[in-house]
């Protein structure tokens, strides 16, 4: 009972980094949605101007990638059964990401190549640090589990996506490849959306579901099938030149749809063993991931071009990430604020109490409706749909912050 004085979060804990990434992601999401409400025509600008490029990167790297990094920094060490190799590298990654993204967005907005290079370089350097940190954390035993490999595949495609703008900016480099700019940009889009964002969200969902499945279920055949098929689809996207091949508009979404079914089968099996995880957050995550399947199926059936289908996939993934963040954030707060005092201060809430805040049900409904409007607006190239969807998602994101008030209040809890 002679316990030492309560201490703040342990210095090696990656939970603080995760929280910083998630807070940054929320700010980026709110900013991007506010811009979309005001300028719903931006995603349809042809050719895409500085504003639409800045907005796309704010959503993809500011919100989605930062949220995925936030979840990964805490979940990946558990799955790899080892402490995070270097919290210092993780902090450097966050600083590079937080500084690089606004720099890149402003550079895109102003059409300044120097700023784009500096901002993009900082982001790529941060991603390299993340990849190195994960690689050094990985033990030989757990490296080849399908969920870990899915995350690795997502990182690979993020790197591919990051390299292509450098090639596009250097005509001599891509002339040597014998392909044109549109082909490279199509690969950039496929590597970023199904390659990184979709696979990354699925990997985080698989890792979280595996942790919560008390019966011991783990990603298995469905994930292997989905991962293999997704890689096949992405390789086909790189080989087929989707911008110039009408068949690709049906074939590629069809492959991704089948891959998604494989992932969904494993996720459903694990969630069946996690009754405590069921609730509005799971509804959002499941609805978002299910939405991607609907969009892939729709695109495969109708031959919708990737320029319309991929933004709809992104919209569904925003909803899924909102659900994953709603589930994950209270646990982070508990790790940071309550765990150091567990067993010493009886008045602090437990993780389960924090994870079930009141008022998340309307958030789930609003999030699903907003995502559906957003996706439908993208598929139909209709700015009004995007505007309504962004408005509803903005309300849902603000609602999430309000619903998580008890957890967030704990962050102000003094040491």
């Amino acid at each position: 009972m002679n316990a030492p004085a309560p201490a703040a979060a342990p210095p090696r804990s990656p939970a603080a980094i995760s929280l910083a990434f998630l807070a940054f992601a929320f700010l980026a999401l709110l900013a991007a949605l506010a811009v979309l409400v005001r300028r719903p025509d931006l995603p349809f600008a042809s050719p895409p101007g500085g504003g639409s490029l800045a907005l796309a990167h704010l959503l993809m790297l500011g919100w989605a990638a930062a949220a995925l990094f936030g979840i990964a920094y805490t979940v990946v060490p558990v799955m790899l059964a080892a402490r995070l190799h270097s919290p210092r590298l993780a902090r450097a990654h966050f600083l590079l990401h937080a500084a690089g993204l606004p720099w890149l967005a402003l550079g895109l907005l102003a059409g300044s190549p120097a700023d784009i290079v500096i901002g993009g370089g900082a982001l790529v350097a941060g991603i390299v640090l993340f990849a190195l940190n994960v690689m050094f954390t990985a033990t030989a035993r757990n490296r080849w589990e399908p969920a870990n490999l899915t995350l690795l595949a997502a990182l690979f495609w993020l790197c591919v996506s990051a390299v292509i703008p450098w090639l596009v900016a250097n005509p001599a480099a891509f002339a040597a490849l014998g392909r044109d700019r549109a082909w490279l940009l199509a690969i950039h889009h496929y590597a970023a959306v199904p390659g990184f964002l979709w696979l990354g969200t699925l990997a985080c969902a698989l890792l979280l579901a595996r942790q919560q499945a008390t019966g011991g279920a783990r990603p298995a055949g469905g994930t292997w099938f989905g991962l293999a098929l997704a890689q096949l689809g992405l390789a086909a996207a790189a080989a087929l030149d989707p911008a110039a091949t009408p068949l690709a508009h049906r074939l590629l979404p069809g492959i991704f749809f089948l891959a998604g079914l494989g992932f969904a089968a494993d996720l459903a099996r694990m969630i069946r063993q996690a009754p405590q995880a069921r609730g509005p957050a799971l509804l959002l995550a499941g609805g978002g991931l299910g939405g991607t399947l609907v969009v892939f199926a729709w695109a495969a059936a109708t031959g919708t071009p990737a320029s319309a289908a991929l933004p709809a996939v992104v919209a569904a993934l925003h909803v899924a990430l909102l659900g994953l963040a709603a589930r994950f954030l209270p646990f982070l707060v508990w790790h940071l604020r309550c765990a150091p005092r567990a067993g010493r201060r009886a008045e602090l809430p437990g993780p389960t109490q924090l994870a079930r805040p009141r008022g998340l049900e309307p958030l789930a409904i609003a999030g699903l409706c907003g995502g559906a409007y957003f996706a439908a607006g993208s598929l139909a190239s209709h700015p009004a749909g995007i505007q309504i969807g962004a408005m509803v998602l903005l309300v849902a994101a603000a609602w999430l912050v309000l619903a998580l008030r008890p957890a967030l209040r704990l962050l102000a809890y003094g040491d």
Binding site: M1, P11, T74, V78, A81, A274, H335, C338, A339, P351
Partner: protein, 152 residues
């Protein structure tokens, strides 16, 4: 999963009636050579822990709700308290271990069984002055032994 015999003692009615529950707890512990006593109380019984430690028992508290604590009490020949937390979703095992470690006396040990390597627990335990070692079983579960660092 837990094959150890468990006796349950709910002292909330005694406390509600204004009675001191210590005598009832000690009486229940008298016959407790193996197995565990699950004590249900409306608050964490902090003064009880030293009394238990003096008698060679270890206590693992767990806060079930705002008005209910469950204290797992057991006697062990080498002073090791064993917790099987494989059925709990994270981060509940982390919470249980931290609460149990708070009542661990000098020389006491915790042996914790979890589904995953308790990576995030290690930092908290180090900060609290504990040492621990983890190993993976053939079945894929993890066993972590925790003891307090005794400074000379």
């Amino acid at each position: 999963m837990n094959e150890i015999m468990e006796t349950i003692l709910d002292v909330r009615p005694l406390l509600a009636g204004g009675q001191e529950p210590l005598a009832a707890i000690l009486a229940a512990l008298e016959g407790l050579e193996s197995g565990t006593l699950l004590l249900r109380v409306p608050f964490e019984p902090l003064p009880l822990y030293p009394a238990l430690a003096e008698r060679g028992f270890s206590a693992a508290p767990f806060r079930v709700g705002p008005d209910l604590w469950e204290i797992t009490i057991r006697r062990d020949a080498d002073g090791t308290c064993e917790l099987d937390l494989r059925d709990l979703p994270p981060p509940a095992p982390l919470q249980r271990v931290l609460e149990a470690s708070a009542s661990l006396g000098r020389g006491g040990r915790l042996c914790v069984h979890t589904r995953f390597h308790p990576v995030h627990l290690l930092d908290h335990l180090e900060q609290r002055g504990f040492e621990c070692e983890s190993e993976e079983s053939a079945a894929g579960h993890w066993t972590t032994r925790i003891w307090r660092i005794i400074q000379a």
